[in-house]
């Protein structure tokens, strides 16, 4: 089984792809059957992934030498592309995580989407998404990865716009696609550069060739440019500043989608890509700094927005942006291990919280404002308590999963700072402050929604088992998922690392700081939003610092800026060009046609319609020609062909 799974890892993405085709062409009229097909496929993928994980994580040879096999996709002289499978601990971990989360979320969706007229279609999209994401993860080639990358983008577009009757969903879908498209443009340029300079997009070959970049005739500057261009893709996909704007709007999609795509899997594709190409980034310190600062800034930036948002999914979305910033930061300081670790734990607790939020929305009939909730934990104990677990995990309270990964990131950032990067201290400060803010805004949400006074107009009820079951599984994983990477027994770091594995001494001081930040955040939220039942203090604060509050609530007006740019620059430019096209370019064409027409109008009077006039003219012309031929000088006769 294990050997079979390793050899046939391509089945993992293929099965959901087949499920997609099957639902679209065969089972669409039968919703229950469609969801069964979809779940069966993703569950099989999960089983296969587990077998692969078993095979990989029992054989340390995979750390140094990934299992790669591929076949020719297309090619020509000087440009051949292979598609294939690349199994190493990182991709195996991702395979396992994605298929696991996807399976849970599909089970959850059978409850959440119950009765939706587009039920089958929803599951076909989920299958397509799972196929693309799993395909992205195991890609052995950057072009293949880009293909899958775009396909997950397509699924994201389709799923965000899933509620087609909503204008807002349509706009959000377009925005998501456009924003990530801008990122893809940069990434495409990066890929082109790589292909042209190194003659391949194969990850294994690139790993060997990139360090010897000078032999390929390019300077460090150009390599930096390549890396930064490549990084624009992840900026778009992983919602980093300044292309983060689509992610919060993406919450227009059904909640399982938000959990699957916009929290646990797709958005981490960017992080994964940078992780995959870290061999390139590691060559160029300049690019690494860009990655680190983008990550740290995004983390802080999104956290400051999250503290004032009101909609439950929007808060979670900004928290996702912020956490993705953490992962980027970890990559920027050179630690694949910490980044992937956070990716791993984040997938569980964020999926958990999104599903919990979905459960709440389901119960409250899509009333999303946290200020309209309250005391939900009494009526919805499973949702509530699992949500609390998620909150503890993201706030970084030991022994929950988030603590270990966040601590690891803080540790590597500190290490980066102490190894001669003065700016590292700034990064560390930003990360630490974000940790505090995260705990605060998360618990603000939890206190507002689940504790405090119940609102009489709400009639919440616990969700059915197929929604509760994934919550419980994810809650368990959010609790214990981090224990494989504790500083005392860092199995994680042994397997997943770039360069030398990180063997830091457990930094107790750092841990204490981290715990302190988390507790402080929760404590502040407790004071403001739980003890103060009338919430007088926060209201006063918001009024006193009105400008700050507004800037944060309106997300620093980045959306408005983009909107202005699209409307006033791009669209206006398009209108100007169109005017130019129909009045100048076409004007010339029509002008030429007009000349023909006008001259025709004038000349037509020569046509009398009398045959005999024509005959006379004809005869006279013949006469003139004859005379010229007979009596003209030989050279001028030459033009008439009688030159001989």
């Amino acid at each position: 089984m294990v050997e079979f799974a390793l050899r046939h890892a391509w089945l993992v993405p293929l099965l959901p792809a087949l499920a997609f085709a099957m639902i679209v062409f065969l089972t669409r009229p039968w919703p229950k059957l469609s969801s069964a097909v979809s779940i069966a496929a993703i569950f099989s993928s999960f089983v296969l992934s587990s077998a692969i994980a078993y095979g990989v994580f029992t054989n340390p040879a995979f750390i140094e030498k990934p299992l790669v096999y591929s076949l020719r996709w297309f090619g020509m002289e000087g440009f051949t592309v292979h598609v294939g499978v690349m199994l190493d601990p990182t991709s195996t971990m991702m395979l396992f995580m994605v298929s696991l989360v996807a399976t849970l979320i599909q089970i959850y969706s059978t409850g959440y989407m119950e009765g939706d007229p587009q039920y089958s279609v929803f599951f076909s999209y989920l299958s397509l998404f799972a196929a693309s994401m799993l395909g992205l993860v195991i890609s052995s080639n950057l072009l293949q990865m880009f293909v899958m990358w775009e396909l997950v983008g397509l699924c994201s577009f389709l799923l965000i716009g899933f509620y087609t009757f909503k204008i807002s969903a349509r706009e959000a879908a377009k925005k998501a696609f456009m924003t990530t498209r801008i990122g893809d443009f940069g990434m495409l340029l990066g890929l082109l550069f790589l292909q042209i300079v190194f003659g391949t997009l194969d990850l294994t070959e690139l790993t060997q060739r990139v360090p010897a970049y000078e032999q390929f005739g390019i300077s460090l500057g150009l390599l930096t440019l390549i890396a930064i261009l490549l990084f624009i893709g992840p900026i778009g996909k992983s919602g980093q500043f300044p292309l983060h704007v689509w992610l919060p709007d993406a919450m227009e999609g059904p909640t399982p989608v938000s959990a699957l795509i916009h929290a646990a899997t797709m958005v981490v594709a960017g992080v994964y890509l940078v992780g995959r190409t870290l061999f390139l980034f590691a060559e160029v310190p300049g690019a690494m700094e860009v990655v680190a600062f983008t990550g740290a800034f995004t983390a802080l930036f999104a956290a400051t927005i999250a503290i004032t948002q009101r909609e439950i999914k929007r808060i979670l979305a900004y928290s996702t942006v912020s956490q993705l910033g953490y992962m980027m930061l970890a990559l920027g300081v050179g630690s694949l291990s910490a980044s992937m670790f956070h990716l791993w734990t984040h997938a569980f607790f964020k999926a958990l919280m999104f599903l919990g939020a979905g459960s709440v929305l389901h119960a409250l009939h899509h009333k999303a404002d946290v200020w309209d909730m309250g005391g939900l934990i009494k009526k919805m104990p499973i949702t509530g308590w699992t949500f609390v677990v998620g909150g503890l995990a993201i706030a970084g309270i030991p022994p929950f999963a988030g603590f270990w990964s966040k601590d690891e990131i803080l540790a590597v950032t500190m290490q980066y700072a102490t190894h001669g990067h003065i700016m590292g201290y700034l990064l560390f400060f930003m990360a630490a402050f974000t940790a505090f803010l995260t705990a605060f805004y998360m618990w603000r949400m939890i206190f507002l929604a689940f504790f405090g006074k119940e609102k009489p107009e709400n009639h919440p009820h616990e969700s059915p088992w197929n929604m509760a079951f994934p919550l419980i599984v994810l809650a368990v994983l959010s609790t214990v998922g981090g224990l494989i990477g504790t500083p005392w027994a860092n199995y994680w770091g042994e397997w997943i690392h770039f360069g030398q594995p990180h063997h830091g001494e457990p930094a107790i001081g750092l841990m204490l700081l981290s715990v302190f930040l988390g507790v402080a955040g929760i404590g502040l939220a407790y004071i403001f939003y739980y003890k103060d039942e009338e919430k007088q203090r926060v209201k006063q604060l918001a009024e006193r610092y009105q400008t700050l509050y507004r800037i944060s609530y309106n997300k620093y007006y980045v959306d408005e800026l983009y909107q202005w740019f699209t409307r006033s620059v791009v669209d206006a430019g398009a209108r100007v060009l169109y005017w130019f096209d129909i009045h100048v370019v076409d004007g010339i064409v029509d002008g030429l046609a007009g000349i023909t027409r006008t001259s025709g109008k004038g000349l037509r009077y020569l046509q009398t319609g009398k045959l005999q006039t024509y005959a006379l003219v004809f005869f006279l012309a013949v006469l003139v020609i004859t005379v010229v031929l007979a009596f003209g000088n030989p050279t001028s006769a030459g033009i008439l062909g009688g030159g001989k």
Binding site: R72, W73, F74, G75, M76, E77, G78, F79, L143, F146, V147, M148, W149, E150, L151, L154, G161, T164, F165, K166, I167, A169, R170, A173, K174, F177, M178, R181, I182, D184, F185, L188, L189, L192, F193, Q195, I196, T566, V570, D571, G573, A574, R575, L577, Y578, D581, I582, V585, D586, V589, A593
Partner: protein
């Protein structure tokens, strides 16, 4: 190979047209079925040829009657029908789209018989240009194409921003002006070749072997570039394209945008570059510049449009810019990409126009602000529309991504930052395509379109055929690329050789 398969392929639609002539005009359905059968046979034959072509051998194969049959000895004209990796995709494309176009016109009831006849003649004409290996025959077929187009636009077209008469005339005159420039170039080339070699020969191969003087090549290439370029809607000779497509009936838009335009690109490679390599080298940077301008300019133009057909009309100008860019790179990779992109764009544009045709037929409008939420009433139509839209913005997994990427690889290498402007076109493309697609299909359902019936039965054929190719070509690009490469590689090898001799 004693059976002249290519000639049979060419004859299939002509025979169908002749049969339809004898069918009473009341028997509309019968006319359409005969037309479908004729194009279907042609499609089957071209598939047979496509998969029977031996790529490992390459070169011209399936030569009808085993050799060029002399027609006019004094002019060196011969009936020389054969295909290589360059012609075959175009032949297949023609028949794919021709077949789909018949079904896209399934609901036309106004003079259906005549429409089918013209359509079949048009398809045969286009096909002829791609399989003729003789310059004279090539031009002959090219002229055959012009006449049905004009008549079809005038009779079955629609007047929107411009009248259909204006659109038809613009289309026809551009086609004719292009062919006029071409004719001058061709005659001069022929005369010069006779002067150099002493024996008249009109076949592409024969002409390519003649070593024309460099200056002559530059002038002639310029003429041919004007001719083929205006056919390919090269900026600034593009303005016929949006107006023409908007005015034309669905089938004409499909064939015109799908394949007829590609005669320009095909001719540019097969005639202009192949015969005039030194001229090509001189003009390549200009082609690239015009291509890039075309990409960006037309993409912006499309952004300003509100009429669906205008959006696609401008977008096709923009996509042809990529083709020009690929051709201008004069490298195997770039030209491969250009040819593959012609194929990809053909399929995509035809699907796009057929879906717009259905939308127009069912809602009587193409004005984007008046449309919306159609996915509620017509889900299958929406799938087709969305597939075409996604292919248009170069979504990987559909046929057009790999060709575009290939073009980018080569042109970025050759032209550097100039190409970046063209690559940036993918952002604007995404913007206008998404706007058109999402605003038409998504959003709340509109009551006035509740009567709209989704496409079904024969109406599904364009979606199934073209959509299938769209996906298949995206998943297995080697199906297309290996074929294209087997045709392009020898041509480019010949050109490199010529350039080296000429460069000395």
């Amino acid at each position: 190979m004693n059976i002249p398969v290519l000639t049979l392929t060419l004859l299939a639609p002509i025979i169908a047209a002749l049969i339809i002539v004898f069918i009473p005009k009341e028997e509309e359905k019968l006319c359409k079925w005969v037309a479908a059968l004729g194009t279907g046979v042609a499609l089957a034959l071209s598939l047979y040829v496509y998969f029977g072509y031996d790529q490992s051998v390459g070169g011209l194969q399936w030569v009808d009657f085993g050799r060029p049959v002399p027609l006019i000895r004094d002019l060196g004209v011969s009936y020389y029908m054969a295909v290589d990796g360059l012609s075959l995709p175009m032949l297949l494309l023609t028949n794919l789209i021709g077949f789909a176009a018949v079904f896209a016109s399934w609901n036309v009831s106004h003079r259906a018989k005549e429409l089918m006849i013209y359509l079949l003649v048009l398809i045969a004409g286009v096909m002829g240009t791609f399989i003729a290996q003789d310059l004279f025959i090539f031009l002959l077929f090219y002229e055959v194409v012009v006449i049905p187009i004009y008549i079809m636009v005038i009779i079955w077209g629609s007047s929107k921003r411009v009248t259909k008469e204006y659109a038809g005339m613009k289309l026809t005159i551009y086609l004719l002006i292009g062919s006029a420039f071409l004719l001058v170039g061709v005659i001069a080339t022929f005369v010069e070749s006779v002067a150099i070699t002493g024996t008249p020969n009109m076949s592409f191969e024969g002409l390519a072997r003649v070593a024309f003087p460099e200056e002559f090549q530059i002038y002639m290439f310029g003429l041919m570039l004007l001719g083929f370029g205006s056919l390919l809607s090269m900026w600034p000779f593009h303005s016929w394209s949006p107006d023409g497509y908007a005015g034309a009936p669905t089938a004409v838009s499909m064939i015109h945008a799908g394949v007829l335009k590609k005669i320009g690109g095909y001719g540019l490679i097969r005639v202009a570059i192949f015969v005039m390599p030194l001229g090509a080298k001189f003009w390549a940077p200009w082609i690239a510049v015009l291509g890039v301008i075309g990409v960006a300019y037309a993409a912006m133009g499309a952004l300003a449009q509100k009429d669906l057909k205008y959006v696609v009309g401008y977008s096709s100008v923009s996509h042809m810019g990529y083709v020009l860019l690929g051709v201008a790179s004069l490298g195997v990779i770039g030209v491969n990409g250009a040819v593959a992109n012609m194929f990809a764009h053909g399929v995509m544009a035809a699907l796009f126009f057929s879906m717009i045709g259905f939308i127009y037929e069912k809602t009587h409008t193409r004005w984007i602000p008046d449309l919306g939420g159609l996915s509620h009433q017509a889900p299958r139509l929406s799938v087709g529309f969305m597939m075409a839209a996604m292919a248009s913005l170069g979504l990987p997994g559909l046929i057009s991504f790999i060709p575009e990427f290939t073009i980018f690889v080569e042109s970025f290498r050759v032209f550097g930052w100039l190409a970046v402007l063209a690559i940036a076109g993918i952002i604007i493309t995404a913007l206008y395509v998404l706007r058109a697609g999402a605003n038409t299909l998504f959003g709340p359902a509109r009551e006035e379109y509740n009567h709209v019936r989704d496409i079904r039965g024969p109406e599904l054929v364009p979606l199934v055929v073209l959509g299938g190719v769209l996906v298949l070509g995206g998943i297995l690009p080697s199906l297309l690329f290996d074929m294209v490469n087997s045709g392009v590689a020898p041509i480019m090898a010949h050109i490199q050789e010529a350039l080296q001799i000429g460069g000395r």
